[in-house]
Structures are given as C-alpha cells and as structure tokens.
C-alpha cells in the first residue's frame, strides 16, 4: 500500500484529497506546511509521492523542496506540484517535480497522476 504525503495549508483540500486517495487504497499522511512535512520525513516517513502545495505559511513549497534536495536520503522522493497559479508547468519544471496538478483539477486527474508517479517509482 503506497503512502502519499499531502502538504497543503487548506484543510478542506487536504480532507478532500485524503478522501479520494484513501478510497483508492492509498495510505495518506497530511501536513499543513513545509515544516510539518519535513519533520515527518526526518522522522523516517518515506512516501511514494508528495503532493506539494506551493503557497503556504511557515515553510512554503519552494523552501521544502530546497531542503529535500539538500538531503540525499529524501531528495529522490517524487514530488507533484499542486498549484492554482498560471505557471503550474513551469513551476513543476523549476522544482524538478515528477508532475503537476493545476487547480481546479478533477478526481480522475488526481488519481491518474498519483498512480503514474507511484508506478514509476516502484
């Protein structure tokens, strides 16, 4: 059972993504910002994919990504950038992400990209 780490400051987005992903058989761990996510990773959490929002308080998505890339033990965990801004594709590229989800996205899109990334990983 693949683990998905959700990082988003919007509680309803986390809740909604959790529902969809758990229905599809994933185990979901949520974090409200980059710091929480980083703490989980440093405690040994090894998700198959991280769904990463960019604009967040405390530690934003860019900062988290930078910290991850500096740590060899977690640098290779695939990241999917989740953003509502106009440059989702470019952001994903600049963050060396495995893919992106541009808000608003549908359930199928979410499941498709998580399936693709976790399949490529295993």
């Amino acid at each position: 059972m693949s683990v998905v780490l959700l990082v988003d400051d919007d509680i309803d987005i986390r809740e909604a993504e959790e529902l969809v992903l758990e229905d599809a058989g994933y185990r979901v761990v949520s974090a409200a910002n980059g710091e929480e996510a980083l703490a989980a990773l440093e405690n040994g959490l090894r998700p198959a994919v991280i769904l990463l929002d960019l604009m967040m308080p405390v530690m934003n998505g860019w900062e988290l990504r930078e910290r991850m890339l500096r740590d060899a033990t977690i640098a290779s965990i695939p990241v999917v950038v989740v953003t509502g801004d106009t440059m989702a594709a470019q952001r994903a590229k600049s963050l060396a992400a495995a893919g992106y989800l541009a808000k608003p996205f549908a359930t199928e899109e979410l499941l498709a990209i998580v399936a693709r990334v976790t399949a490529a990983d295993s």
């Binding site: 309803d12 909604a16 993504e17 229905d23 509502g84 106009t86 808000k103 608003p104």
Partner: protein, 459 residues
C-alpha cells in the same frame, strides 16, 4: 617670327595644361562627390542598423519614451542629411523609395515594430501594424487624440525627415482591421500647406508622440492591473473549487437517498460551470501575458473531437442536442492536444448554447497540408455588428441578459488557433445558425515561435 610663334605656343601650352589640370581636378571632385554620396548611403544604412539594434537592446523601446525620443531624433537627422545629399522625388521610383522600403523592411526584419508596407505608390504608403494592443486599447487611444501612436517612432522619423523639404505625411486612413487583427494605415507624402496652421509639424508631432507614449504607458499599466486581478482572483477561486470538486465526487459514489442524489447532481453541474469559468479566466490571463507555450505532439483531430463530444455527453451537457461527426476517419497533425481540445470544446459549447437544441454537425477534413474543422449549428445566428466583435475578449454575440458566460471562449479559441499558425472564421446570419471554420496547418511553420511569443504588451 618663329620665335614669336614659339612664344605664343608656349603661352597657349600653359593655358592648355592649366585647363587640363582643371578638368582633371573637376573629374576628381566629381568622383569624390559620387563616392561621398555612396559613403553617405552606406553610413545611413549603418546608422539605421545601429539604431534598430539600439531599439532592440531596450526590449521594445516603444515603451521607453527616452529611447524613442533619441531614436526619432537621430533617425530624423540622418534621413534629412540623406535627402539633402541625394535629393528627393515623390513620384519617381528613385533611391529614396528604396531607402524607405529598406527602412521599413529593416524595422520589420528586426522586430522593432511589427510593421508591414503593403504598397508604396506615388508617395502613398499603405502599411499594416500587426498584433498590437487590440481594438479596445486602440479605440481609447484614438478617442484621446493619439491617432498614430502605434506607428509613432517610424512616423515621427519620417515627419522629421520630410518637414525641412516642405513635405509632410498626411494621414488618409488609420483603421483597426478586425479580420486581420491589425491597424491598416495609409499615409501620403504631401506638400506642406503654405497657409495652413503653424508649420510646426515636427514639434507638434514630437509633442503628440510624448502624449501618446504617456497614454500608452497608462494603458498598459491598467491592463496589467486588470490581468493581475484576474490572475489572483482565479487562483483564489481555484482552491475552494478543487476541494468542492473532490468532495463531491466522493459523495457521488456514496449510496445516497433519492433526494440527496438529485441534490448532488445539481451540485455537480454547478461545480462544472464554476470550473469552466475559472479555467477561462486563467487561460485568458495566461494568453495575454504570453505564457502559454504549445506542447506539440502527433494528434488525431478526429479522435480528439470525438473525445470532446463524448465527454460532453458524459457530463450531460448536450442539453438534448444531437452532434454528428462527419468527414475523414483520421486527420493527424502536429498540435498541442490539450489546447486544441479547448478550441473544439469552446466551439461546441457555443454551438450547444446558441443552437436552440437543433442538430449540430462537425466536419473534420484535411486538404493540401491543412486540416479543417467546421462546426455548424442551426440556432439563433449572429448579427453582422456582433460578428465584428466576436473574437474580442469579454465580448459576446448576444446580450448578456439572455446568455451568460464570460465572453472569452472564442477569444481563447482564436488565440490558440493562431498560435498553431491557423485561422478561424465564421459565417452566420441571424436566425440561420453559425458556421465556424478552423483551419490548421498539419505541421508547424518555422516562424511559429515568433508569432506565438511576441506580445507587445506586458513586460
């Protein structure tokens, strides 16, 4: 006697020698004058080239009043010098004509202003300014009295060069051509009116140019503010919408009592509508700031169209309309499939929305290296006045009281089609439905990149 003769010969001989020397000197001077003319011409071209590079170095100096002024002054001086040197003839096909043609060609080739000389006869310059600010901006500038702002650097330059010769550029026509999305401008080289108002064309023009630049700056600032607003608003809307969408799809899977199941259907339709609106707004900002890049791949237009129709059917958005897909079994080209899907979906949405429930036909064909997608509805049709505005952002063919929407669908469709190097056209009469014809080259042309990423607006 013979001594005398010899003396005379000697004197004459001196005279002859003197004359010979003078002729030689004149010939030398003539040659050097000719050479100077040639040098001057070379120098002129070199300066022109430098000036163009200078303009380019400032990333579209149309937006930098200081560099425009410097450029205009320098170009004017050079042109004046050139005219004084070689003379000027309005109607003959002499060198100045070539110079002007070269000038404009230079400007166009170097992307300084997207200007195209359509013809040059008897001192009448017919030109087009392409892909500029768009109709709204243009109309506002015209209303504010800045009629030639788009052609400002080149025009001001010509004025500056012509004025000392007692000539001026007289505007004959300056109109926004909606079909071609360009400003068509006709200007005639005419004699300055001796008794006309103050013969200060040059000064007047540079004042005009400054005012126009100011207007233009204000205009682009306002556009930026608007685009920023739309971008931020869409972004803010996208997040709650995503949460709604995901939660709703989870709810739909649950075993709900009849009333609740019907309620989720209403929610589904409304969420879908909101999503379309937000996507439209986001796309419009992306298109206007030139951030959309095509991701070309091999795409079958027939399959793509079928996919769009299927998803409309699945989402129950056909509202009882029958859509018939006809034509070739497969039309494969190198396109951006996601963007083309948007075009097809926008056209079909419109056909359904304005089709009054009557059957819609879609023909997909290929001929001479170009694909055609023709969407025909049999609905309310479009009035001639509305046709002119149809592809402009925020415009719509019919009153907003009857039909909602943001009025961006066709604008987006046309931008995407053009990015692909294609065209989109419409034929319609009120009450007789509308036919939208999208024509797409199967493979990209080399200069597509230039067409895509040259928004004069923005950064």
């Amino acid at each position: 006697m013979s001594e005398q003769l010899a003396e005379v010969r000697g004197e004459r001989g001196d005279e002859v020698a003197e004359l010979r020397a003078r002729i030689e000197e004149l010939e030398r001077r003539l040659a050097s004058a000719e050479k100077r003319g040639e040098d001057e011409r070379t120098r002129f071209r070199a300066t022109l080239y430098e000036a163009v590079l200078y303009g380019l170095g400032r990333t579209l100096s149309l937006y930098d009043p200081a560099s425009v002024r410097v450029l205009v002054r320098e170009m004017g001086r050079r042109i004046r010098e050139y005219f004084e040197e070689v003379g000027y003839h309005v109607s003959s096909g002499s060198t100045p004509k070539e110079v002007f043609e070269n000038t404009t060609a230079f400007f166009v080739a170097n992307g300084f202003v997207d200007f195209e000389v359509v013809s040059w006869t008897d001192g009448l310059i017919r030109g087009r300014w392409r892909h500029l600010l768009g109709l709204r901006a243009y109309q506002r500038i015209v209303a504010a009295g800045g009629q030639t702002f788009i052609s400002c650097p080149l025009n001001a330059m010509l004025h500056d060069g012509l004025e000392p010769l007692g000539k001026e550029l007289a505007l004959e026509k300056n109109e926004f051509d909606l079909e071609k999305d360009c400003v068509e401008s006709w200007e005639r080289i005419a004699d300055l009116e001796p008794d006309g108002p103050e013969p200060d064309t040059g000064r007047h023009l540079s004042l005009d140019a400054e005012r126009v630049l100011e207007l233009e700056r204000e205009q682009s600032r306002q556009l930026r503010v608007r685009d920023d607003f739309i971008r931020i608003a869409s972004h803010e809307l996208a997040t709650p919408l995503t949460a709604m969408e995901l939660t709703l799809s989870r709810l739909e899977k649950a075993d709900l009592p009849n009333g609740a199941a019907r309620a989720t259907k209403v929610l589904r339709r409304q969420v879908h509508r909101l999503k379309l609106l937000v996507t439209e707004m986001l796309d419009t900002t992306r298109l206007q700031i030139g951030r959309i890049k095509l991701e070309r791949e091999s795409v079958d237009l027939v399959q793509l169209t079928r996919g769009v129709i299927d998803s409309l059917e699945a989402g129950r958005q056909l509202k009882g309309c029958a859509i018939e897909l006809r034509g070739a079994g497969s039309v494969v080209g190198t396109w951006d499939s996601a963007r083309l899907e948007q075009v097809v979906s926008n056209l079909l949405d419109n056909a359904i929305k304005y089709g009054e429930g009557r059957p819609i036909t879609v023909d997909v064909t290929a001929k001479d290296g170009r694909a055609h997608l023709v969407v025909r509805d049999r609905g309310i049709g479009i009035s001639p006045e509305a046709m002119k505005r149809l592809f402009n952002p925020f415009e719509r063919g019919v009153s907003v009281q009857h039909y909602g929407g943001l009025g961006l669908g066709l604008y987006i469709a046309r931008r995407i089609v053009r990015m692909h190097g294609g065209t989109i056209s419409v034929e319609s009469e009120p009450g007789k439905g509308a036919v939208f014809d999208v024509e797409l080259p199967l493979a990209p042309k080399i200069d597509d990149a230039f067409l895509v990423e040259s928004p004069l607006m923005g950064r």
